[in-house]
């Protein structure tokens, strides 16, 4: 057993390959957060008055929360105090004011994305994927914009949306995650610097996968991006996001907000492969990933589906959720969360059933290795009017080694007696029997573990778009390196 354990451990200790730093001139606002910081950010982005006012309201709300209890304390995670005055809230590569095409983009940034495997030159991109690249606080490039515009799909940076489509932004911004939602969502609303914006018009099935690739580069900065996706009646869009950051000793804060709105008969599929720097083997450094993601199925027969593969970050705190307001609407959450070394994850979902015959599916696969602590936290709430609502929840944990932990906190609130709820849960351990069986068939221990883990996560991986599924499998085996043990 012990030598099997060692192999698992070795497997989990492979290096974080995305940890390089791009040397580039950045424009920053001074560290710290006050009303002036907000005004500077808003002015730099040349925002309309409604945006500034919204940010200021958010800031004051956040400041009152900070004076009270600061971060919410209910999550099963431990970390030292965060000094919000020591963070830089705006950092952007110096560049021309408006970027007409990729040739104007700093070649260092282009090279960064190439190194990350995300070439931004359109001819080199995977067929069928349009990319918005966010570098520190700003969106640096969006591909296939013109092609998408021909069919009326708006895919651009949030800043550009504020300039060009202020009506849409004003209508939907904060409509799913209000600035008062929680501590981190308030902070994001006050200081968010960029992100992606998507609008898919009525009846349009977006022909490309839309993708945002987030990269934190600068030190001692926070990344606060905001994504807003609106799928108008009868439309469909599939959206992917990926993220990485350099290796640094200091923890860095990432507090994003994602809002999705699906109108009548619309569908949004949102996939995440999160690979922020997780910290080193002793738990030093790494990203604090405090993220609020929520979708509203506003229209009848609408559907929102979240798929996430969370392998990075020192701490992950996120609960991609669905508000099922329209009758017959559907919410889905498929999640793989891996914690290795000293990583901590408290993640799950909320499914709020408001409309009639609303349905939700939750499939969560938690993997813990090393000293990792992995918590599933989920709420399924059936409101009074949600006649005929159904939920299926499956929540499985896999332990690798004997120093890690798996925790499950499912909450179920039912206010309508016609609701049907199913909840299945399991906890298992990669056992010596399984490993020996695979090794007796000729597989090396690391391949054996990777096979067991991939089998465990299959139900989630098959919800990912093809290229992402392959990527996710690879990522999982890299993130597990050194954990066989």
């Amino acid at each position: 057993m012990s030598s099997n354990l060692n192999t698992i451990r070795d497997l989990a200790d492979r290096e974080y390959k995305w940890g390089f730093v791009t040397d580039i001139e950045e424009e920053r606002v001074p560290k710290g957060l006050n009303e002036e910081t907000i005004r500077v950010i808003s002015a730099k982005k040349d925002e309309p008055e409604f945006m500034l006012q919204w940010r200021l309201k958010a800031y004051h709300h956040w400041a009152s929360l900070e004076r009270a209890e600061a971060e919410p304390k209910w999550a099963n995670i431990k970390y030292g105090p965060i000094n919000y005055q020591e963070i830089t809230y705006y950092s952007a590569p110096k560049r021309k004011l408006s970027l007409q095409n990729l040739e104007e983009l700093d070649p260092e940034i282009l090279r960064t994305y190439e190194k990350l495997g995300i070439p931004l030159e359109e001819q080199k991109l995977l067929a069928g994927v349009a990319v918005d690249a966010v570098f520190d606080s700003v969106s640096v490039a969006t591909t296939f914009k013109d092609k998408l515009a021909e069919i009326g799909v708006i895919f651009c940076s949030f800043s550009e949306a504020v300039q060009k489509h202020p009506d849409l932004v004003q209508k939907y911004l904060g409509s799913v995650v209000p600035y008062t939602d929680n501590f981190f969502a308030s902070l994001n609303a006050a200081v968010f610097t960029d992100g992606s914006f998507v609008y898919v018009p009525k009846g349009v099935r977006c022909p490309l996968e839309l993708s945002t690739y987030f990269r934190i580069n600068a030190a001692e900065t926070g990344q606060f991006e905001r994504t807003l996706i609106v799928a108008d009646e009868g439309s469909y869009v599939s959206y992917l996001e990926g993220c990485t950051a350099p290796i640094r000793d200091q923890n860095q804060l990432h507090a994003a907000v994602v809002e999705l709105v699906a109108l009548d008969n619309a569908q949004i599929k949102y996939s995440t492969v999160q690979n922020w720097y997780p910290g080193d083997k002793e738990g030093k450094g790494g990203i604090y990933n405090f993220v609020t993601k929520r979708g509203k199925c506003l229209g009848v027969n609408s559907k929102i589906s979240w798929t996430q593969v969370e392998t990075g970050s020192a701490i992950t705190w996120k609960y991609p959720s669905c508000i099922l307001q329209g009758d017959n609407s559907v919410g889905e959450f498929y999640s793989v969360a891996l914690t290795n070394n000293y990583q901590q994850a408290d993640t799950g979902t909320k499914m709020i059933h408001i409309g009639k015959n609303t349905r939700s599916t939750v499939v969560s696969k938690g993997l813990s290795a090393g000293h990792g602590q992995n918590t599933y936290r989920g709420l399924v709430k059936i409101l009074k009017g949600a006649t005929g609502a159904r939920n299926y929840t499956q929540c499985d944990s896999l332990l690798i080694g004997d120093k890690c932990g798996a925790h499950t906190f499912p909450y179920i609130e039912v206010r309508n007696s016609t609701a049907r709820m199913e909840h299945e849960a399991s906890t298992s351990k990669i056992g010596e029997d399984q490993l020996f069986y695979l090794r007796q068939r000729g597989l090396k221990p690391e391949d054996a573990v990777s096979m067991i883990v991939n089998g465990f996560c299959k139900r989630v991986f098959r919800e990912l778009p093809m290229e992402f599924a392959v990527e996710a499998q690879k990522l999982l085996s890299v993130s597990l390196e050194g954990s066989v043990g």
Binding site: M1, Y437, R439, Q440, R441, G442, L443, K444, F456
Partner: protein, 256 residues
């Protein structure tokens, strides 16, 4: 040179001595049966040969194909051509039988410097073996051993053996839990594997499997020692007289 040569093997599990001086030679082309009552050490011997690490070899040597078997890891043993059919096959949820078996085949082929087999070439071969073992094609896409009946699991082991074509196959109580029809099918699979290049060691408690698979040699293992060796007729004698007589014989031998 024998394919497998075991010399004076002593093995402990949790500080408890299980095997107490085993000597055995197995040549290519031969089929051996190791029989014995529960707790005699049959499965321990099989597991040690497959290099399960929780078994502690205190004395003795094992040579496989002239190499020191006890210095090898489980996956090396497998890649060198030793296959063990498990008494309790393990479930691997989410991994299809076909994918698993192709990965195993390719791991072994890589070890031998051969090209990997792609899915297109693998399927016809896999189908042929399925047919041999009278197994449903649906098994290809089902997760390894998950929701398989006891008989299906055992047939699946023989299927894997047929695909991986080992030089030395060790069948650990493959007959336990099989009904008579399944036993015939398993026996057919095993018999089809007999060849001058291959040795098969059948570990079993009961004689009945040996009605279908006729070994060249039978060894009776009692209390960690081989107390008698002989031809197939020894199995019939056991069937008639039971292990009791052999155990008594063993006690006499020890005290003498």
């Amino acid at each position: 040179m024998s394919l497998l040569e075991i010399k004076n093997l002593y093995v402990e599990v949790d500080n408890h001595e299980i095997l107490k001086g085993i000597d055995l030679r197995v040549n290519a082309g031969e089929m051996h049966s190791i029989m014995g009552p529960n707790g005699s050490g049959k499965s321990t011997l099989a597991q040690v040969l497959a290099r399960r690490e929780s078994y502690n070899v205190t004395t003795g040597e094992v040579f496989y194909d002239g190499k020191d078997l006890l210095a090898m890891k489980p996956e090396e043993v497998a890649c060198e051509g030793i296959f063990m059919a498990f008494q309790y096959p393990v479930e691997i949820p989410g991994i299809s039988n076909a994918y698993f078996l192709r990965s195993a085949l390719n791991a072994i082929r890589r070890h031998r410097g051969l090209d990997e087999v792609d899915a297109m070439d693998f399927l016809p071969m896999f189908r042929e073996k399925l047919k041999l073992l009278d197994m449903d094609e649906k098994l290809m896409n089902r997760s390894v051993n998950e929701d398989f009946s006891g008989g299906e699991k055992k047939r699946n082991e023989i299927l894997q053996m047929a695909v991986l074509e080992p030089k030395l196959a060790i069948l650990d109580e493959t007959d336990s839990g099989l009904d008579i029809d399944a036993m015939r099918i398993v026996a057919k699979g095993v018999n089809s594997m007999r060849s001058p290049e291959r040795a098969i060691v059948v570990v079993t408690h009961y004689q009945r499997l040996l009605n279908y698979i006729v070994p060249d040699f039978v060894h009776v293992l009692v209390n960690g020692r081989i107390v008698r060796s002989g031809g197939p007729e020894l199995a019939l004698e056991l069937e008639e007289k039971g292990y009791g007589s052999m155990e008594a014989g063993a006690r006499q031998a020890t005290s003498a």
